[in-house]
Amino acid sequence: MHEIRYSAPRSLDDAVALLAADDARVLAGGTDLLIQLRAGTCPSRHLIDVKRIAELATLDVDASGALRIGAAVPCWRLADDARVRRSFPGLAEATALIGSTQIQSRATIAGNLCNGSPAADTTPALAALDAVGVVVGPAGRREVPVASFVTAPGKTVLGRGELLVELRVPAPSAHSADAYQRFIPRNEMDIAVVGVAASITRDGARCSAARIALGAVGPTVLLAEDAARALVGGTLDDAAIARAAAAAMAAARPITDMRAPADYRREITGVLTRRVVAEAARRALQGA
């Protein structure tokens, strides 16, 4: 690894000042960044460790039920949190799928987003929940929807000197729930061939709102809006779910690579969309 400087500021203001000063990179869990540094694919020479900033280590569900995930919160804290598992089961299951137990001890949900991998597991789950990222930088604070946070593989909306401070997930309504599933050829420790997240809100038998997000079938997470429209207003019957799956397949823009050919990814997109919509609908009925 090339020589680096290391800073561990205690306040957000100090972190922003350090980030603005030179070509620095934020270090949270480090499970992607340290590999990139060692491989020589990250030229940064100054790492700003944000794990000592109390605000970024916060995981909180407020009185309304909205979730705040500080940018330094590691996966295990979210996946183990009873409130998160109850209110956002799909986000919890996406988080629990990342890497190994070792990786979950360090990797952060915010880092999973900022790394910008098309196959990130938590990004579709967050996008289906309409989560936003709170970004702080030299020009102040702004909010960016997770669905548009990543602009290309490995690229995000973050400008020079900016960092992601927290992720905010709106409170679920009484009869809504989410689900996330991915396909991998192994049982664990793998990268998604396809990942699909759904958030479903019910009004009795009727579907009153839906969001479906697709991972690993495009350069960034894709919101399958036509798939959601196929569900809203209907009764979440098999025919409606099949229409949503067909719309998700049409929305997918997969590539062929070492993990799967494009047409296979498109097929699996339909399968997983059916499964996660049915699961989220079942959970919403139970008031999961």
Partner: protein
Amino acid sequence: MAKTHVTLTLNGESTELLCEPRQTLLEVLRDELDLTGTKEGCATGDCGACSVLLDGRVVCACLVLGVEAEGRTLTTVEGLADGDQLHPLQRAFLEHAALQCGICTPGFLIAAKALLERNPDPSEHEVRYELAGNLCRCTGYDKIVHAVLAAAAEMRGTVARGRGTASRGN
């Protein structure tokens, strides 16, 4: 490059060291502290050979910088035994022949310790799933899984379910 002063609790003892910011915790353990029980396998977080406990959580030491350990509590495989008394997991690995070349063993011991502290009575499936971040290219895993289940049973004061002599045929 100027070295950074780091203070941490290492295997129960307050420890001070100097390291470069670019050195991983794995490099610091092996090259600065001569604690070579922690092994380097892949150095990319995939194999788990460098597993250590950082504030009680199992992590890959190759994915942590030495300077990040400032003020933290660290346990390596050298900290498992109590003097001459091996940890129940270490004894179980010997009794069940759960190692061949041995490179993965320290990582498995550490990861298994973390698992049993969280879940003292895991199922075989849970052991296999929780230890999926540790790779072994010799044993085929079966003996490792059985050793962990046996150690868990011993630590609970019972005999492993469906394994070992006492429960066979019952």
